[in-house]
Symmetry: C2
Subunit: 293 residues, 2 copies
C-alpha cells in the first residue's frame, strides 16, 4: 500500500507556481490576484478561506478577503460580486459556500463572471469541462486528477466508481475521468443514496472516489485487493481528543481499507490540500489570461 500524500504534492506544486509567479513579476507582469468572499462565521468556511488566503501568500499572489455578516442581503452580496467582476486588478475570485438560506447560491454563482470563476462552479465552466473545451476545472475533481497524474496511476480502461453525485465533486469528477485523456479514459460508475447494490459495485472498482460526506462509509469488505481509493470526505466529527473539539473524518474507514489498497489518500492531508492548489492553478491561468481573454 502506498499513501498518496496530498500535502507533500500540494507543497511541490505550490513551489512550481511560486517559481512561475516570480518569473512573471521579474518580467514586469501582473501579480495574480485572488479575492474571496466569506459570509458569516461557519467554522469550516473560516478555516477553508484562511487556508486559501495563506496559500495565495505562499505562492506570491495578492489576495483580498471580503467579509459579510450572516444577515447580508442577497442584493448587497450580488453588488459585491459585480464589483469584483469589474475590477481589472482581480483575476479570479470565489464566494465561499454554503451561503445563508435567504441567499440563492445558484444566483450568486451565476452572477460571477465565468472568466473569473476560479472555483469552476459557473455553468459556462461546467459545460465547457463536459465538452472538453478550455475552462476553469472544478477545483476538487481537478485536484484528484492531479494526484492520479503525479502518482502515475494507470486509468485507461479502468473502472472508476464515484460515490456521490454532487455538483462540486461527483458529477464533474465523472466527466473528467471519462474524458479521452490521461488521467481519464475510465469506465465510470456514479453511485449515490439511491444506489441499490453499492457494495457489489464498489468491489468491481479499480479506482474509488468517495464523496458522499458520510464518515467511514466505505468499509474494508467493499474494496477489492489492489484498488486505488481517493477519499474526498471531510466531515467534522465531535472528538474529545482534539483541542478544537472535532476531528476531520473521511468517507473511508481507513484502517480497514488501506491494507487492501495499491494507493489511498488520507484525511486530512489527501484531497483537501489539492483543492486549494487547483484554485491557485486556476488563478494563475486567469492572471495569464490563458483560458479566456
Amino acid at each position: 500500500m502506498q499513501l498518496i500524500d496530498g500535502k507533500a504534492t500540494s507543497i511541490e506544486i505550490k513551489k512550481e507556481i511560486a517559481k512561475e509567479v516570480e518569473q512573471i513579476k521579474a518580467s514586469g507582469g501582473k501579480t495574480p490576484h485572488l479575492a474571496a468572499i466569506l459570509v458569516g462565521h461557519d467554522g469550516g468556511s473560516e478555516t477553508y478561506v484562511a487556508n486559501k488566503v495563506k496559500s495565495c501568500e505562499e505562492v506570491g499572489f495578492e489576495s483580498t478577503l471580503i467579509r459579510f455578516e450572516t444577515d447580508v442581503t442577497e442584493k448587497d452580496l450580488l453588488a459585491s460580486v459585480e464589483k469584483l467582476n469589474n475590477d481589472p486588478d482581480i483575476d479570479g475570485f470565489i464566494v465561499q459556500l454554503p451561503l445563508p438560506k435567504h441567499i440563492s447560491e445558484d444566483k450568486v454563482t451565476e452572477a460571477i463572471d465565468y472568466r473569473k470563476d476560479v472555483d469552476g462552479f459557473h455553468p459556462v465552466n461546467v459545460g465547457r469541462m463536459s465538452l472538453e473545451m478550455p475552462c476553469f476545472l472544478s477545483a476538487t475533481p481537478s485536484g484528484i486528477v492531479e494526484l492520479l497524474r503525479r502518482y502515475k496511476i494507470d486509468t485507461k480502461g479502468k473502472h472508476c466508481v464515484i460515490l456521490g453525485r454532487s455538483n462540486i465533486v461527483g458529477k464533474p469528477a465523472a466527466m473528467l475521468l471519462m474524458q479521452k485523456a490521461y488521467p481519464g479514459d475510465c469506465t465510470v460508475t456514479v453511485c449515490h443514496s439511491r444506489t441499490e447494490n453499492i457494495k457489489e459495485i464498489c468491489l468491481q472498482a479499480d479506482i474509488i472516489i468517495a464523496a458522499l460526506g458520510v464518515p467511514e462509509f466505505l468499509k474494508g469488505d467493499m474494496v477489492k485487493q489492489g484498488a486505488v481509493v481517493i477519499d474526498v470526505g471531510t466531515t467534522r466529527v465531535p472528538s474529545d481528543k482534539t483541542k478544537s473539539g472535532f476531528k476531520l473524518t473521511g468517507d473511508v474507514a481507513f484502517d480497514e481499507v488501506a491494507p487492501k489498497c495499491a494507493y489511498i489518500t488520507p484525511v486530512p492531508g489527501g484531497v483537501g490540500p489539492m483543492t486549494i492548489v487547483s484554485l491557485l492553478k486556476n488563478t494563475l491561468l486567469a492572471g495569464k489570461k490563458e483560458v479566456y481573454n
Copy 2:
C-alpha cells in the same frame, strides 16, 4: 417484451404541442419559429433537417431553412448565426452537424445565443443541465427520458449502463439519469471504446442506452432477462433491399436482444422521432420565453 414505440409517442406529443400552439395563436401570441442551417448535401443531414422542417409544419410552427454549400467560409457561417441571434422573430435555431472540416463546430456552437440553442449543445445549456438548472435539454437524451416517462419505466435506484461518451448523447444522458428526479435517480455507468469488460457490465444493467454508433454491437448474451434497452444507433449500412441503397441500423442486435427485454426501442421508429420532438419542445419553450427571458 414490449416495444417502445417512439414514432407513436412522437405523434402523440406533436398533437399536444400543436394544441398548445393553436391556443397561443388564438390568444394572439407569437407563433414559435425554428430556423435550421444546413451546410452541404450529406444524405443523413438532408433527411434529418427535412424531417425537422416537416415536423415544425405539423405542429403549427413557422420554420426557415438556410442552406450553404460545402465551401462556405467559417466567417460567412458565423455571420448567418449572428443574424439569427439578432432576429427577434426566430425563437430557436440549430446548425445541423457535422460541418465541413474547415469550420470549427465548437466555434459555431458557441456562437449561437444560448437562449436560442434549442439543440441544447451550447456550453451554458450543457452546464445548466448538469447543475439541474432550467435550460434547453440536449435533444436526444431528453427524448430518451421522455420515452421512459411515457412508458412509466421505473428508474429509481436502477443501474443504467450507457454505451458511448459523446457530447450529444452519452455524457448528457448520464447527467440526466443520475439526477434527483423521475426519470432519473439511476446508478449510472458510462462505457466506451476503452472499457475492458463491457459484456460483464452490460449484464448488470437494468437499463442499457446504446449510443456507440457501432451497428449491432449489443448482442443477446450481453443483456440480462428483463432489461430495458434503448437503441440510439442510426448507422446507414449499405443494403440492396432498399430503394435508397442503405438500411438504418441500430447499435443493438434486435432479434437476439428483444426476446430478453422488458422494453426495447426499435430502429427506426424508436429514439429518432423523439429527438425531433425534443427539439420542438425546446422551441415551444423558447417561444414562450419559459427558460430564458
